[in-house]
Every structure is written in structure tokens, then in C-alpha cells.
Amino acid sequence: MSENLLCSDNRSMRQGNIALYAIVFLMVGIVLSIFIFFPQFLNMQSGIYGISCREIRQKIQVAIEDHDANNTRSIVERGKRVDLDTLKEKGFLNEIRLCPEKGEYKFDERGRVICTFHKSGE
């Protein structure tokens, strides 16, 4: 009985050696992912989404300026949502594109388009 126990102990020790390497390898991978890869990915993702959002805002801004130049009534309502549907219906926007990070496009106090997620009106 005790011999069997010893044998199984030895076997688990021998197997445990490989399992230990696997666990260490996995832990290193997880730690690297948590502290390096994942933050880098999120940083890169938010940067790319920021660039896209800025470009969409610029397009909307141009569309609003075109709209106001061709209409007597301005579409700008300070502090309110930008009416993208109207801009598209009237042909000032080719397509409705939203912020990749689900922000909403609104007018700020100066009448410029801002994103509720990215905030910047510039």
C-alpha cells in the first residue's frame, strides 16, 4: 500500500515537473498580456478610434457648413444632438457614421461638433 503511494508520489512528481513548466509558461503569458500587450492594444485601439472620430466630426462639420450656406435656417442647435439624418437626407452627408466608441455628436456652446466620448471640439 505504502509502496503504491510512493510510486504515485514519484509519478506525480515526475509529471509535476512538466506541469510546472506549463504553468510558469502560462503565467508569464498572462502577466505579459495583462501588463504589456493588453494595455498596448487598448492604447492603440483608442488612438485609432480617436483618429476616426476626429475625421467623422470634421466631415459632419463640413456638411453642417454646407447646409447652413445653402439654407436660410441653420441646423446648429447649441448643446443638442447633431441631426445626422437630416444632413444625409438633404445630401450633405454621404453616409451616417457614428463614433467607434459609441459617443454621440452634439453641438458645443460655440456651435462646433463635439463627441460625447472624445469631448474635443477641435
Binding site: Q45, I48, Y49, I51, S52, C53, R54, E55, I56, K59, R97, P100
Partner: protein, 214 residues
């Protein structure tokens, strides 16, 4: 602890190099695959978007990530399946060795290992079969000697029963017994059963004991 420290790392060069090759080629294949997927998906999306503007960058980024995730899952599955086949080439022989060793330990010396073509550990299989052959031969010889011993014993019994116990006949039976015992000793003297004991010492002891018996 130091006694078991690894000194020679390439001890089974062919086997180790083969597995090194498998690991390196798999890693290269995955690296090349993932690299090509990133390169192809991102650049093909860029090239195939006619009115490309920076606002579509997030769409390209998302689609590349989605495609990459799908392909990584495919790669993981492919490697998992491949690793089952590769590991089976070594796990199969190890399993057969374990099972055969158990049979031999239980006393069945007729067991031989037959590995499939392409399996690893073919050298170990040959060595193992050689060991089981030599054990079988030793046991056969052992039995042969025991039979002789039984026959000699029977002859001695006959002589005792027939009351033909002259000094010459006693001498003759004793000589026969001695010869058989010597044979038996020779069969077992080939085994090393103690640390530090060598074959020569075993043989010398056997001779010495034989002389004492005589």
C-alpha cells in the same frame, strides 16, 4: 541531487533534433500565418476601399482584429490536432512499454513490444525486447537445471529405496548434485543484485562456494 544533474543535453540527438524541428517549424508556421493574415487583411482592406478616408480606419482595425481572432482559433485547433498526432508517436510506445513492463513484472515473459511504423523509441523497443528475451532464456535455463536437480533427487531416492548405498554410489550422486548446483549458480550469478557488486566478483564467489561444497 548533484548526481542527477543534467550534463549532456543532446543525449538522443536524432530524437531531440526531430522534436526541435517540429517545435520550430510549428512556431514559424504560426508566426508566418499570423503575420501574413495581418498584412493581407489590413492592406487588402486599404487597397479595396475606393473612397478611403481616415474615418474608416476604425472599421479596418476592427475587421482585421475579427479576422485575426478567427484565424488564431483555427491555428489553435490545428496545432491541438497536430500535437495529438505528434505526441501519440511517443505516448503510444510509452504506453506499450508500461503495459508490457507490468506483464513482465507479473511473470509473463512471453510479452514482446511491437511498435507501429514511424513510432518513436524504436531503439528502446529493441532493447526492451532483448531484455525480455534474455530473461526468458535465463528462466528456461533455470527450469532445465531444476529438472535435472529433480531427476538427480529421484535417482537418489531410488537408490535409498533399493538400499544400494555404497560409498561409490553416494559419491556419484553427490558429484551429480554438485554439477547441477553449479549450473544453477551459474544461471543466477549473471545477475547483479547489489550496488557495487560486479560480475567478476559474483563468478569468483560462485567458484569459491563450489570448492567449499566439494
Amino acid at each position: 541531487m548533484n548526481k542527477h544533474r543534467r550534463r549532456t543535453y543532446l543525449i538522443k540527438t536524432g530524437l531531440q533534433l526531430r522534436y526541435m524541428g517540429i517545435i520550430i517549424s510549428t512556431m514559424l508556421l504560426v508566426a508566418f500565418g499570423v503575420g501574413w493574415i495581418i498584412y493581407h487583411t489590413s492592406w487588402s482592406r486599404i487597397a479595396n476601399t475606393p473612397d478611403l478616408t481616415l474615418d474608416k480606419l476604425s472599421d479596418i482595425f476592427d475587421s482585421v482584429n475579427t479576422i485575426l481572432m478567427r484565424w488564431i482559433i483555427v491555428f489553435i485547433l490545428a496545432i491541438a490536432i497536430l500535437s495529438i498526432f505528434v505526441s501519440h508517436k511517443i505516448a503510444g510506445p510509452v504506453y506499450r512499454l508500461e503495459e508490457t513492463a507490468k506483464f513482465i513484472a507479473s511473470g509473463d515473459l512471453t510479452q514482446q513490444i511491437q511498435l507501429r511504423h514511424g513510432d518513436e523509441l524504436q531503439d528502446l523497443q529493441e532493447a526492451f525486447n532483448l531484455m525480455s528475451d534474455s530473461l526468458r532464456k535465463m528462466v528456461a535455463k533455470d527450469r532445465e537445471v531444476i529438472d535435472k536437480l529433480v531427476m538427480t533427487g529421484s535417482r537418489l531416492r531410488e537408490k535409498i529405496d533399493q538400499k544400494k548405498l555404497s560409498p561409490e554410489s553416494i559419491e556419484e550422486v553427490t558429484r551429480e548434485l554438485h554439477v547441477v548446483i553449479e549450473e544453477l549458480r551459474l544461471v543466477t550469478s549473471g545477475f547483479k543484485i547489489e550496488e557495487g557488486q560486479n560480475e567478476e566478483t559474483g563468478d569468483d564467489d560462485a567458484e569459491k562456494d563450489g570448492q567449499d561444497t566439494a
